[in-house]
């Protein structure tokens, strides 16, 4: 069996040695443009508070969402009034309002609790996969005030802090706003596809390079496949059509950043645990980028900043691969256009965070919601660490991309979403490669995608 034979003979000598790479594939090339400028931090100042980010978010989405709301509710006899400031809601009057959601959650991890636990030598509160509780409740807020929402549990369960929405209803005697209906911004405008090329983009995430050599086998297998070292001529002709590769974060496995918990006299001489892994990663990237334009995004495990937007992995860490022009260090989130098809994606933190703070189990549903809410990281800065922007919220999804992905998810998933103005968007949950051993090939012409598994059983 071919697969097994290949499996057992990863050619270690080849790694990192350009001379031994056999004849490169004739690879399809397609026009490419990086559209991530808004995610690159020009100056890094931390004296601003987070209120500005919320203000910008609400301010820039308000008129749009108001229009959606009008279209939805303002016809027939009983036309509700739009109340611009939450403060001006009159009890009993049916109206609609726009604001930012705040979800009041008792179980939300809290730095004060952790501090308290530390001081009292107690175990910190355990981390949970979900922090939802039956008594969670929603508050809608704008610059003028807050109003409690009396609404169906479904809405409470699905929504998270930071989403901008409009609700229709009226204030009851208890001072709560009784929600009759709700709406979000929805999908942004989109330039229709114009004859995209017959080529593929390979999307993947979570290489998770680790000290465990065996875990590297599937990765090497995948690299061999991409660079045309695997399979038959038939396979090669397919692989040739892969014009670009995007790696959505977590290129190395999680390392404990325990320096901060250790005394300096111990850590002074230590190096970060990630150093060795990044070295290995450099070798992998050399192989890939020698054969295919490769975009690497940082993820939560990678040595980049922790707050979103994560800045490109620094090239000083890749003494070998960074010299190749085909390797591109990208931000997370990352936006680009490949052959006229627009891509927007993250390394998955947004989806993961919403998963923790909503009851929704279906991550594809979460990804779709963020498109509908028009925001990549609604939970930033509340539970998702985020840069304190002053005059912009770069995470608003102004234009609807053709491809929208989230990396480092437990399972592959995909769905084609169609918008009211003929937008089409391919949603993709990219599984972590080191768990699923899968990559996703997206056909630029059809926006179809297929998932290839490198666990030795795949028939290549």
């Amino acid at each position: 069996d071919d697969g097994i034979a290949l499996f057992s003979s990863p050619n270690q000598e080849m790694i990192g040695d350009d001379a031994k790479v056999p004849t490169p594939l004739e690879r399809t090339t397609v026009p490419y443009e990086d559209l991530s400028d808004r995610f690159i931090l020009k100056k890094t100042e931390f004296h601003n508070q987070y209120s500005h980010l919320y203000y910008q978010r609400l301010h820039s989405m308000k008129s749009l969402i108001q229009k959606v709301a009008r279209d939805k509710w303002c016809h027939g006899d009983n036309i509700p009034k739009y109340v611009d400031k939450l403060l001006n809601i009159k009890p009993g009057q049916r109206c609609f309002i726009v604001g930012t959601v705040y979800k009041d959650m008792q179980a939300k991890p809290n730095i004060l609790d952790e501090h308290h636990a530390r001081e009292h030598y107690e175990a910190p509160p355990p981390s949970r996969s979900k922090y939802v509780e039956p008594d969670d409740s929603l508050v809608l807020e704008d610059q003028t005030g807050r109003v409690n929402l009396a609404c169906p549990p479904k809405l409470i369960n699905e929504l998270v802090t930071g989403v901008v929405m409009s609700v229709l209803g009226k204030e009851n005697a208890a001072g709560e706003f009784e929600v009759e209906d709700s709406c979000f911004s929805g999908l942004g405008p989109q330039t229709p596809l114009q004859d995209p090329p017959d080529a593929f983009v390979c999307l993947t995430s979570g290489f998770g390079v680790s000290v465990d050599a065996e875990a590297l086998l599937p990765l090497q297998l995948m690299v061999d496949f991409i660079i045309g070292q695997l399979g038959t001529a038939n396979v090669h002709s397919q692989v040739q059509k892969i014009a670009r590769m995007i790696v959505a974060g977590n290129l190395i496995s999680e390392t404990k950043n325990d320096q901060v918990y250790q005394a300096k006299y111990i850590t002074k001489k230590q190096t970060a645990q990630s150093v060795e892994l990044v070295k290995q990663l450099d070798d992998v990237l050399v192989q890939l980028a020698s054969s295919i334009p490769t975009d690497i995004m940082p993820g939560p495990n990678d040595p980049s900043n922790a707050t979103v937007p994560q800045q490109p992995l620094h090239q000083c860490m890749f003494p070998k691969a960074a010299s190749l022009e085909t390797l591109g260090g990208k931000s997370n989130p990352y936006a680009c256009s490949v052959g006229g098809v627009t891509f927007l994606g993250t390394s998955g933190q947004g989806v993961d965070d919403i998963f923790r703070f909503s009851t929704t189990q279906d991550r594809l549903q979460i990804l779709e919601s963020t498109l509908n809410w028009k925001h990549l990281f609604p939970t930033a800065p509340d539970t998702q660490a985020c840069f304190p922007y002053f005059d912009v919220d770069p995470f608003i999804i102004e234009d609807c991309p053709h491809v929208y992905f989230a990396g480092n998810q437990p399972k592959f998933g995909t769905k084609l979403v169609k918008g009211p103005d003929n937008q089409i968007c391919r949603l993709i949950l990219l599984p972590s490669f080191n768990v699923a051993h899968q990559i996703v090939l997206l056909n630029l012409r059809t926006l179809d995608c297929e998932c290839i598994t490198f666990d030795g059983t795949t028939d290549l």
Partner: protein, 1044 residues
Amino acid sequence: RRHDSSFEKDLQDMDPIDDTEAQKIWPRPALENPINASTDTVCFQQMELDHVLGDPIQGMPGGKVRPVPIVRMFGVTERGHSVLCHVHGFFPYFYVPAPPGFEPSHCTDFLKTLNVEAMKVCHYKDVKVVVLAVRLVQKESIYGFHGNRKKPFLCITVAQHRLISSCKRVLEQGLKIGDLPHHAYEVYETNLEYNIRFMADLDIVGCNWIELKPGKYHVRSNPTSLCQIEVDVAYTNLISHPADGEWQKVAPLRVLSFDIECAGRKGIFPEPNIDPVIQIANMVKVQGETKPFVRNVFTLKSCANIVGSQVLSFDSEVKLLEAWTEFIQQVDPDIITGYNITNFDLPYLMDRAAHLKARKFPYLGRLRNQASKVSTTTFSSKAYGTRESKTTSMEGRAPFDILQVIQRDYKLRSYTLNSVSAHFLNEQKEDVHHSIITDLQHGDAQTRRRLAVYCMKDAYLPLRLMDKLMCMFNYMEMARVTGVPMSYLLSRGQQVKVLSQLMRQCKQQDLVLPVYSNQGSEEQYEGATVIEPKKGYYDQPIATLDFSSLYPSIMMAHNLCYTTLLSRTEREKLSPEEYTSTPAGNHFVKSSLRPGLLPEILRNLLAARKRAKADLKKENDPFRRAVLNGRQLALKISANSVYGFTGATVGKLPCLEISSSTTAYGREMIEKTRNLVEERYTIANGYSHNAEVIYGDTDSVMIKFGLENMDEVMDLAKEAAEYVTEHFIKPINLEFEKVYFPYLLINKKRYAGLFWTNTEKYDKMDAKGIVTVRRDNCPLVVTLINTCLQKLLIERDVEGAVNYAKQVISDLLCNQVDISQLVITKALSKTKEDYAGKQAHVELAERMKKRDAGSAPSMGDRVAFVIIQAHKGAAAYEKSEDPIYVLDKNIPLDTQYYLENQLSKPLMSIFEPIMGEQKAKTLLVGEHTRTKVKVSRANGGLMKFTKKQYTCLACRTVLPDQTKALCHNCAKRGSEYYQKEVSKLTELETKFARLWSQCQRCQGSLHQDVLCTSKDCPIFYMRKKVQKDLQSQSGVVSRFGIGW
């Protein structure tokens, strides 16, 4: 635990308040019918009691000409109606011993003579008569045993309480009565308070129920007060119910909590002559109900609506203030609470109203024509120190400042509302600095709304604290047990409570109290001694036996009392079997000859406590449980304060013979216990080990039985307790309480151990006197020592404890400890001149005053400071600095000071017994102390003249190319150094994000900037520091260039 600004939500969750209806719920429930004195019974719980000189009322006993003394009792009926009851006919009196040869026939002459003489010295204009009556009675002085013989005393009744001092002066100088020789009189009971005398004589105790039967009282036709029921009664016609059974109930009292905001000027504490009152928030609830039924805020200028509360806006401050008075009058609270209202809010309002000439304002009490007044008193007490206190009179309303309650009952690091709420309610409170308050006021209806919410929360928290700490029950029960009005408990010291009980007992036994003139003697008597501790670490169960209620039981066992104290002459008349000689060399008669008064009081208190505890066990109703628990606590405290009363040399009636004998007995008993235990539990007597008492203090002894097994130790300890108890006079009782295992005995009153009361699991870790209680330690010491003790005693991980300690020391030296952990606080209790030496906190307060008089700490405040690096040879007091200032100016801390003066001593004390002196010392020297980080001052000093040079992040050589991160040599290892810096960056970023988003949650708004400056919040300094650290670390990382 809730930190989110759930307060607005709480408000919304309460019943809605309709603005148009809101005012209608202010007044009390109306009386169904006017009171009919011939058919209705008036029954009320009295809450406040005072007395005045007033006009006589037709049909009431007492004098017929003004002025006559009248007692006013204010209270509430079971249905919530307010009552004012004027009590007539009770005149003040005092005693003098009748001189030899005094016959009943001398009384008239005595009265006349005294009256004439007293009239001469008294300077009150309206006095027409001083002495009303003189009676010859048989009494006995409380002081000393006099062979149980009563002696003739003259009971002198006077027209007004204040005339007693005139009589005293005259009598002490002496009088000549008829055929008797000139005689100087010794006075008794001239120093007792009229109110307490009245209550004691009528068996009225604080907060009890008073009943007036039909036909026994008059209804006032021209009421003087705002009370719904106002009556007059003769003092002989009122029925006072002891607070037992049914009469333990509590009336639906109205409790008002309020808070004011003033618009101060930047840097200056608000002054009533200049800075306006801009908001007053009010919460009113009925005692026993969970939520306030009135929630409102009075604002100057408009304020946006707040759901769940009423907003009353005014365009002028005078209108606001006067409307508030009207509100008080309508809502008619019985108790007025808040946080620091006594010394800030109320005097401020009064001064401001006076300044603005708001004439209708100062009518906060229940009397129609009685304006409130502010007076200043200095209150001095051994237990609470000296405090200057203001009092705002509000007749009929009991002030109950929660700050005062908490200062009295709890020892805390800080008494700000923030830290108190954090401590008791587990809730952080947004704290808006007073300079920002003005900005918010000058904004719009929105910003004023924000202020109003903040203000209302400050009015709400005292109510919640009151509930949580059950203050009302505890204080009400204390008032009932000791017999004094509730307001005395906060405004007065311990003595009046004991005195009140003493007076009640004296009355029954025909005893009179001499007037002790305070010589202010500093006579010291020997306090409780301890058995010298055998220091060390005990890795075996150490049993602890305690004498229950030691001092009270000694006083009872040996019949120690004023009335049993024997003078030498009296002793010589007795046979030795009839009296006891105490170890202090004093002599007291045995109870067979005369049972003491104090033992009687103590027996009653302890029996009552036993009953209350038994009732508490049976009771299921939470409300009644709270009452009973409050009572048993009050009884315990009262029993223990009797001993203190006899030892208070500045007190009303000190008797050092009693107090020193009590402690001497205590010492002797501890010694005797040791001997009994060590003689009985020996190998010679068939036990496996020789028992050893390793330590003893005041009322407990710690015994090492030598056994390893906890069961066996507990059994032996119980047996030993019984055995020892047999050797003492009842009711002295030695009890087995707990076992410490393991046990670390550091020194006198300093030890730690795991506390076991059963063999299954330890109850807790107990650490006494090491660092925890002392507040001039920074929190780092407390955390460090507690954690080390946990590791040593619970986990039994010596190495873990050592490593932890090393880590903390290293973090400290590397400036990685959060500054809030290094803050030391000390109370500014005296002015600079009063302190003998220069003190760090006093000096700092002075410096802060020069920088910004407004935010500087004032008398009574706790000053928070850190120790900074200063020039060589600077004294410790020069190195104190305000933590905020340190953060702002990036001033380096003197980490060495913290290591040497704060950490090392307690660390050594716990590690030495375990590791040995030599090994323990390695904690303070060694590799972990050699890595240090020097912080340089942001500005000032030499830094102004130096140019900043960037050095290589790896090898620290000065870089030729100042734009780079690394030198040429180190650049090869760029990836490594970059990742190291990035990992620090990510940590700071995560912290930054979590801290600032937490503050947003706490303030309850996403769209507004966080304004809070609560220095008591554990994350306040952290939040500020992480901002700076992150900025600088981000700069470091950016030196690697952007790349790509």
